[in-house]
């Protein structure tokens, strides 16, 4: 039955099949920059590209966490509310005082991870689809943050603004840290047991159970990570704007999913990775930027965003055969 192809050929095919999505999104990214450069001479400048990079940090952080939930064939619809909650809470508690920031920031990040872990635990206990569980907990969080404050409140210490605005060797600091976090998570997924278990669970949860992988541990881990990074994104944006906003994350919940699917992570789980998401974030941000340059109305940009999602998910679909 086995019909071994020529080794060289099968290596190439394998490399393409396992990294095809990543290569595709990188190729698209390059194509976009080239096309953009041709269409508008201010687009492909260092300063513009750096700006786009800087502005994509917030989306990058949320999408980073979201990738993990999608790898387990799940989804986290509470990330937007999490951002709003953490940013408003931090801003309100710190109220511009750097000394308070020293304990508030770690505390709210732990809270974010804990709430996220709670999502994972609920999903495991209830056996309810993550979509519903996180929609529910996200809604509760949104209500809670609005109880805390209906309007942007408090202030983030301006001493921290360098994170969001300063450059180091020409690189925006916040965005660079975000990229480093992407690499760190990528290494974690590749080189730690829990990281490999995420892929195994996403590939086949029942097989994972039979292989002795704790489903509960995997679920708590990915949703805690998702919560943590959403919280981090909330903090970053509130530092950038100087104040926490109870509606800050509203548009991020669904926006965080686009880069994940554009980056080649399958909603069915087990395939893809955070590096694809990183390029997905850059692609989406650059595309929006280019459309701005081309003076495409923000309205039509929405249409383009919808088209990207559809294009991305239909490209990566695996063809089904027979009844399966």
């Amino acid at each position: 039955m086995s019909n071994p192809a020529l080794p060289g050929r099968s290596d190439l095919r394998r490399a393409l099949s396992s990294n095809g999505a990543l290569l595709a999104v990188i190729a698209l990214l390059i194509l976009l920059v080239l096309v953009g450069a041709g269409l508008n001479d201010r687009f492909a400048t260092v300063s513009n590209l750096t700006n786009v990079f800087e502005q994509s940090a917030g989306l990058g952080l949320v999408s980073l966490g979201q990738t993990l939930t999608v790898l387990t064939a799940g989804i986290d619809l509470s990330v937007g509310s999490m951002m709003s909650l953490i940013s408003t809470l931090a801003s309100g508690l710190i109220d511009g005082d750097l000394a308070r920031a020293a304990w508030v920031i770690p505390a709210v990040l732990v809270l974010a991870a804990a709430i996220g872990g709670g999502n994972g635990l609920l999903i495991h206990w209830l056996g309810v689809h993550p979509l519903i569980v996180t929609l529910g907990t996200g809604t509760v969080m949104q209500g809670v943050v609005l109880l805390y404050s209906l309007t942007p409140t408090g202030a983030m210490p301006f001493e921290l603004e360098w994170i969001a605005y300063d450059r180091f060797l020409g690189l925006p600091i916040g965005a660079t840290i975000t990229v480093l976090l992407f690499i760190l998570v990528a290494l974690m997924l590749r080189y730690t047991t829990i990281g490999r278990d995420v892929y195994a669970y996403g590939d086949d949860p029942e097989a994972a159970r039979l292989m002795g992988i704790s489903q509960r541990k995997v679920l708590i881990f990915v949703y805690a990570m998702s919560g943590f990074f959403a919280g981090l994104a909330g903090l970053y944006l509130s530092i950038r704007f100087g104040i926490g906003d109870p509606y800050q994350g509203q548009n991020y919940t669904l926006a965080s999913i686009t880069p994940v699917v554009v980056g080649g992570t399958m909603l069915t789980g087990g395939r893809g990775g955070v590096i694809g998401t990183l390029f997905g974030v850059l692609l989406v941000s650059l595309l929006n930027n280019l459309l701005n340059f081309l003076q495409v109305s923000t309205h039509l940009q929405l249409v383009v965003q919808g088209l990207i999602i559809i294009a991305a998910v239909s490209i990566y679909i695996e063809r089904k055969r027979g009844l399966a």
């Binding site: 519903i132 569980v133 529910g136 809604t139 669904l254 909603l267 039509l300 919808g306």
Partner: protein, 319 residues
């Protein structure tokens, strides 16, 4: 296990509660609400709640069709808003009414078809497919209205949205007619049966010769069409249009359906449950305001109810 239980007689209580618990819950909610705040059960407030129920009820019926097919329709709110802004697109007298209705229905048909085709022919997950069409529709709507819709709604729509017929709100009458018609479609027609079969077990559906793609596409078209209808009613109710008529209806309709026992895994639940789910949601929102709690509690309770309702039905179907 005795021989008798081997034939599969579940405990009477469990099955009863899974099937009718939701109606009991609504009754208890209304009774309890009346005890807490007598004005809750005043005819004015009940009338008020019924007027609110009409658009959500119409949308949840369509959402139920889609969820029974194993799908999800996140585009309903966008469809509602797009239908709503269409009311002010032409002349402001009643002569444009047929044109408005025709364009709204055409838009709904197109959206439903795109959703259904993406889900069936392209294998896109319903969540992403309907999310993408929702975003695109929003873009088209903004572009059409240049960001801020202007113009007036023909009076006919205001009458339908806010008027009464012998003391009964016209929108409620429309809702009830739709509910009855689609109850018959879902529970008594060949299409309804096909929907349950395909939603419950698509492979088995294929093996008995059903065209699952067609069945699913029709469900999305029904959902979009009902959402457009609800959008027109809401626009008439408000009397002015904005780009966000129906905001939040995509999630509220899913929540209502889930509360009402329509399972996201497909093939289970029905119209009555879904409508009662919508009624429960509206009653809770109303009650929160009546007892003077901050409006935020509406949101918190909604979130908690989603998880609890889903968990309730999962536990029931497992036991």
């Amino acid at each position: 296990m005795s021989g008798a239980t081997q034939t599969g007689a579940p405990a009477f209580g469990g099955e009863f509660f899974a099937r009718y618990g939701i109606f009991l819950f609504l009754a208890l909610l209304i009774a309890g609400g009346g005890l807490i705040s007598p004005s809750f059960v005043s005819s004015g407030n009940i009338n008020n709640m019924l007027v609110q129920l009409a658009p959500l009820g119409i949308v949840v019926i369509g959402q139920a069709f889609v969820i029974i097919s194993r799908g999800l329709d996140l585009s309903v709110a966008s469809v509602m808003a797009t239908a709503a802004v269409m009311t002010s697109l032409y002349t402001s007298d009643n002569s444009s009414a047929p044109l408005i209705v025709a364009s709204a229905l055409a838009m709904a048909l197109g959206t439903g078809l795109v959703n259904g085709l993406l889900v069936t022919k392209r294998n896109v997950s319903p969540f992403l497919a309907t999310l993408a069409t929702a975003i695109m529709l929003q873009g088209i709507r903004f572009w059409m209205t240049s960001g801020a819709p202007s113009g007036n709604i023909p009076p006919l729509f205001k009458q339908i949205g806010a008027g009464n017929l012998g003391g009964v709100p016209i929108s409620l009458v429309i809702f009830l007619v739709i509910a009855v018609v689609f109850w018959v479609v879902l529970h008594r027609s060949a299409y309804g049966r096909a929907l349950y079969i395909v939603g419950g077990n698509p492979i088995a559906g294929r093996l008995v010769g059903l065209s699952s793609d067609r069945v699913i596409i029709i469900a999305y078209v029904i959902s979009s069409t009902l959402a457009a209808t609800a959008g027109l009613i809401l626009a008439g109710f408000a009397g002015v249009v904005d780009n966000f008529v129906g905001r939040g209806f995509e999630l509220d309709s899913i929540v209502a359906a889930v509360i009402g026992g329509v399972a996201l895994s497909g093939g289970r639940g029905g119209i009555a449950g879904a409508v009662v789910g919508a009624a429960i949601l509206i009653a809770i929102f109303n009650l929160v305001l009546l007892i003077g709690a901050p409006v935020q509690f509406q949101i918190i309770i909604k979130g908690a109810v989603i998880v609890l309702a889903a968990a309730f039905y999962i536990k029931k179907s497992k036991s």
